[in-house]
Point group: C2
Chain length 293, copies 2
């Protein structure tokens, strides 16, 4: 089997137009002639086509809120059952953890300002930043992904590029296999101090040569489309392990602050008021009973 290529395809330039899905497949930019997601459950996704096939896609140019596949009747764009985190949907979710970029191809589509007038256009590399589920327009669960265009002007990213080249010789512009960007703001320092750097899930502290370490985790995430606030009622003090698990749906929190997915209860300081709306948001969007390992 031919190796899956992540990153740009040699000889194909950004903005290049392909007449149809067969030309696109032949060019190796997006091999499947029907499926919107090209990828595997083991390696991740290497390309996607956005062409209005899913009623829930949202295209903002440099940011795309992409909808997973499945759950539709043949020939219809309407959901009729829940989508599941399998096949292409799982492949795209893996990219969030591996940082591998996907090639984005836009097909002509009346509804979008970013679509080409006709055919399919290769629009460069995007990173998959986040995955979650929600009720789609048709009322069934859909899996969603936030994609952000990889900027080539970024010098630091070009540094990474050099490091990466050894691993992916075939791809010229594979960049930024950045996985987890942990921010540390005034408000996050506050929540960490409140718990004295103890994880609210396991009550452990992480010791380093420069003192204790903890991370502040947003319950309802920052950024579109979640737009959770950077406020203390939306923050938890977690160890890195439980932060990763929380962000990637390894567990969630119920109304009574017991945990679901793992045993135990959230430790809560009496001066820390958590917003139950944000907790419900996390449970609805990031926890999936069907995906227990």
């Amino acid at each position: 089997m031919e190796e899956r290529v992540f990153g740009d395809i040699e000889g194909v330039y950004e903005g290049q137009i392909f007449k149809n899905r067969f030309d696109l497949s032949f060019s190796k930019v997006h091999k499947p002639t029907q499926a919107g997601i090209s990828g595997s459950q083991n390696e991740g996704a290497d390309s996607i086509v956005i062409s209005g096939g899913y009623e829930d896609d949202e295209d903002y140019g440099n940011i795309i809120i992409y909808t997973g596949h499945g759950g539709r009747k043949d020939g219809s764009t309407k959901q009729v059952v829940d989508q599941e985190l399998v096949r292409g949907n799982m492949a795209l979710a893996l990219n969030v953890k591996t940082g591998l970029p996907v090639r984005v191809i836009r097909g002509s589509h009346k509804g979008s300002a970013f679509s080409p007038a006709e055919g399919y256009r290769y629009d460069g590399l995007y990173r998959v930043e986040d995955y979650w589920k929600e009720k789609g327009i048709s009322g069934y669960n859909i899996w969603r992904y936030r994609l952000r265009k990889v900027s080539v002007s970024n010098k630091e990213e070009s540094n990474v590029l050099q490091e990466e080249e050894s691993g992916y010789k075939k791809t010229k512009r594979i960049e930024t296999t950045v996985q987890r960007i942990i921010r540390d703001t005034a408000i996050s320092r506050k929540v960490k101090k409140l718990y004295n750097f103890k994880c609210q899930v396991c009550n452990s502290t992480i010791e380093t040569s420069s003192g204790l370490y903890a991370e502040a985790a947003h319950i309802k995430p920052l950024g579109v489309p979640h737009n959770g606030p950077d406020s203390i009622d939306n923050l938890l003090c977690l160890c890195p392990n439980h932060h990763v698990m929380f962000d990637f749906g390894g567990f969630s929190i119920l109304e009574d602050f017991s945990l679901i997915g793992i045993d135990g209860n959230l430790t809560i300081n009496k001066n820390h008021n958590l917003n139950s709306e944000f907790i419900k948001y996390h449970f609805d969007h990031f926890y999936d009973e069907k995906n227990r390992f």
Copy 2:
């Protein structure tokens, strides 16, 4: 007490020259009139002066390898005892974990191509990427820091900027409170697969809705001045907690693969040959017996 200001000082532009340390102090760009590091052990460092006071400093322009303070006799630039990770040295180490930037001021100095002809020049914001210890030119331990200039052209960083502003209203250009950038390359995926995503320290796995999660940790770090290779004999499969602890000197590894700083032994797959030179490098540079918490 006046609040410590991280980031740019209002009214002071990059490239601005100050006649002497008193003018510099008065401008609030760097308040101490003698010390090279301005900061506290609780909040981190807000500014540093690089002016050839330490024989071990290395200035590459956008990257600076800066040396901590202490260990010298009054009036001499020679080390006479080991430096310790306290006061300003600890402050700068905290910046690695908080991501807060430091203002960098260069003083005139014959030895450096980047120094101003005379006086002190404000050269903008740098991030502190890494801290470690090593034997300095004089044969005593010094603490070292890799600083990288914060690029203002970076669009993603400006996004972060907006989020940050609520926390630090006073600073116009505080950016990128990025803490931990975890990369995922072909070789790091290989080491994770070899251990089936089990941490080599605690043998635990992290479960998420999209499968198991682990991180590949470089023993001898990538990048200047360490220049460790991105090869499997320099990589460990760790859970996020032990990755943080390993990078920040919470524990290290001895020749017989027992751990120091925490109990236990490293689990090693029989097909995984670790390079003992890299392990010794980590112990020498990142583990400090004096800094146990």
